[in-house]
Symmetry: C2
Subunit: 474 residues, 2 copies
């Protein structure tokens, strides 16, 4: 009997791998060590829980601990893996009953990422949150609700009740600071606005959502302003100020009094666990992996927010921590460990985010600067076209940016923003990118036309026509 498949981390990548292996090879033992209480939770849903669109924190769980046990997975919560010995093929685990050495047949490091807060002074003040843990989300929502509105009996057993109840008893905040204008910042602007707070968003770059490119950034900016969010762009936050609780945001431009702050200035891979081993980290700091998710050490895999993947356009390692990537890689590794080698697939950084009613999406290499950095000679065009036939009601202007390489005419990436089915349209580009499509080929795709859903020339095709024209002239 081989040693068990040992998995470090009980979220998307880890549990996808565990579930797939138990399904394909039910006789194999699978042990999942999770250092915290929560398992299998949807990070991406937290802003919507805070907003109130999602009723219960437990709605964000894909699988309960009981579901996981039922799949035959040996789940050990409150167990932290503190060391890996790749020569002996063991991990050292600190748990409630002390430290043990656990042998493994194959090991999967799926330790995720953590929110960065250290660049911002005062991030440890109370009433300051990162939206990267279920407890933080629970406490923030309790804080936003009127005292007495939070029903402790309805809370999941895993929740940090003491922290939450302390916030539930306090007077709800009236003015919110959001530091960072990425996904979390944009989504939290919507969440705070839903609670009628006065919202200030501070963003160091000059635009929101930088990976989405200029057109999406500009559209998101316009949408947030329309919804009453005060934007402080091109503004570095020096520190959060307060006695015990956050009371103000200090920037070079001045001081803004606030009652609550959310930091969304990025995440960092939890990859330190491999530092005293032969398992290598890539330039991004995340763990380097091959096309099967295997690290530089045999039988040791890494997946999810702690791991690098191969970029579909550049063919180079890249680190883009996103939910599908984690699930897909975990599932593939489960297959591979079961005896069916299965590639984890490439990534294109395909992502979508809702900014109030603006659907924002991106894939591949959007900005000409990034394309040049990757060794391409980019040509980029941005068009605005209707989402439906002009005569059909309910359409919305849809702005598409496409970037291609001048010489090869290969599509490198694109972005889409609009209020009517804009986000889902990015999947057309993601699919095209994955297959190395050129712009002339993109222009000739036989996409669907029906007046309620798309004009004859879908906005993606309109953009392809314009970019094709630019390439012909270039």
């Amino acid at each position: 009997m081989p040693e068990p498949f040992v998995i470090v981390g009980g979220d998307a990548a880890g549990l996808s791998a565990a579930s797939k292996l138990k399904r394909e090879a039910p006789d194999r033992d699978v042990v999942v060590f999770e250092k915290g209480e929560w398992v299998s939770y949807a990070h991406c849903g937290m802003p919507y829980y805070v907003k109130g669109d999602v009723d219960s924190l437990t709605d964000l769980l894909s699988l309960s601990p009981a579901d996981i046990e039922e799949r035959g997975i040996d789940l050990r919560r409150r167990h932290e893996v503190v060391g890996v010995d790749t020569a002996e093929k063991t991990v050292r685990v600190d748990g409630p009953d002390g430290t043990v050495e656990q042998p493994y047949g194959e090991l999967l490091v799926a330790t995720g990422a953590r929110a960065v807060s250290d660049p911002i002074g005062g991030a440890d003040l109370r009433s300051t949150f990162t939206i990267h843990s279920m407890d933080a989300a629970a406490s923030l929502r309790a804080f936003l609700e009127a005292p007495g509105d939070t029903d402790p009996s309805a809370l999941d057993a895993s929740v940090d009740r003491e922290r939450l109840l302390a916030y539930a008893d306090r007077t709800p905040p009236e003015t919110a600071a959001i530091v960072g204008g990425g996904y979390v910042g944009v989504e939290m602007a919507e969440a705070f606005s839903a609670h009628d707070l006065d919202v200030h968003l501070f963003q160091r770059p000059e635009r929101l959502l930088p990976p989405f490119g200029e057109a999406v950034g500009d559209a998101a900016e316009a949408t947030l302003r329309e919804h009453g969010v005060t934007l402080h762009l091109d503004t570095a936050v020096e520190r959060l100020r307060g006695e015990e609780r956050v009371e103000a945001v200090v920037t070079e431009q001045g001081t803004t009094p606030v009652d609550v702050a959310v930091l969304g200035v990025g995440v960092r891979p939890n990859a330190e666990i491999v530092d005293d081993t032969r398992i290598e980290r890539g330039d991004s700091g995340a763990i380097a992996t091959d096309e099967y998710g295997e690290t530089t050490v045999a039988d040791v895999y890494a997946a999810g927010d702690c791991a690098e993947m191969t970029h579909a356009v550049t063919g180079e390692p890249d680190w883009v921590p996103l939910g599908l990537t984690a699930n897909r890689a975990g599932r593939a590794i489960g297959w591979t460990v079961s005896g069916t080698p299965t590639p984890v697939g490439d990534i294109a950084g395909t992502a979508a985010v809702k900014a109030f009613d603006a659907e924002c999406a991106r894939t591949g290499i959007v900005s000409p600067e990034a394309a040049r950095d990757a060794g391409f000679d980019p040509v980029s065009e941005t068009v605005t076209a209707p989402s439906r036939s002009g005569y059909y009601p309910g359409g919305a202007e849809t702005t598409v940016t496409l970037t291609a390489d001048r010489e090869s005419e290969q599509l490198l990436g694109g972005s889409i923003v609009g209020a009517d089915r804009a986000a889902v349209r990015i999947d057309t580009l993601a699919t095209a990118l994955d297959r190395g499509v050129t712009v002339p080929e993109l222009e000739r795709l036989d996409l669907a036309y029906a007046p309620p859903f798309s004009p004859v020339w879908d906005p993606v095709l309109v953009a392809a026509k314009v970019l094709n024209g630019a390439l012909a002239e270039a």
Copy 2:
């Protein structure tokens, strides 16, 4: 100076070609002969005009005759091309001022298609319509409105006023028959229901929307029934009965009294114009073309609903008259005639249709029977999956069918139906098809995930996972 580029037919394909040539080679003469009054109108919008979603008939025009003249195109309405002499490179044209011979440098046959009504006896009764001409749409809407509601002064100059005003004066119908359950039938069910008619839809096959496959047909059926439409499936209409006006629909099962009837039992290519020439028609009856839209005779092109195109999956000629195909082929031919040879592109039969709140879409080869007919060994799976993360409000069950070839694992086609962004998702499959993607490759695509728009595994990916499993077992 070369002879002009002569185009027969003033709708999507013809005017796309004319516009592109005038743009790329402004010195070339372009003559467009259109036998009727109307030019550049959106067939696909007519049901929505009848329904009332579109205010004015002229909203359905992409270009007015004045716009067309402004582009430098010599548009001659009420001119019918009645003969082609490919040896002399002339066409014979009947116009208001008699018959003339018009020499051409290049000729584009873009004569479209016509609604079929001959299999149904009584189709010439009054109050019986096909939704294939602007005048029919105008008359039907006038009929549905209360007497006095139709404002003749607001009508476009091209309209057949006499016919329209005769209908405008009549008592609006209360019971409608729709013969045929394809696009037109399904869209007209929605249009008649919006006018509070009692709607009977007669369909000879056992399902609605046959090219969309069983799952979409079943979903459309359920939706139409929910909206009070009486469906007579697997029911052949023998004839329409009435004195002067239609009064009843007669089938083998019985007689249904009605006040108005719409026939939507298919279209036929207007290809007879080439019958006494060396220009060949394909098996479908439409005009055979090559990858540049050129017919079997040099300098003679055909595009749009009268022409065959190459199918992306089979590589064989096929006839699927759809709007984007016509526009794209016309545009490409304009380029080619200007001196830049440009392929017209393949078709995959990608199509979408709205059935009340059900978004229906299809691409490629959906049904196993059709796949077998094309020489494949099909494996097909249908799954139903949520359109958004389970915890996020507003999602809808989305049913995806995927069909692949067992041996090569190549994707052959698919369909999607659901109420939340289902139709636009077909473009992911259309793009994948065009690039010859296998099901394992499809499963690994890096598509967008964000709770408001898609779950971690988009319904398309869920279907790919299930089909992949079936292929592995097969």
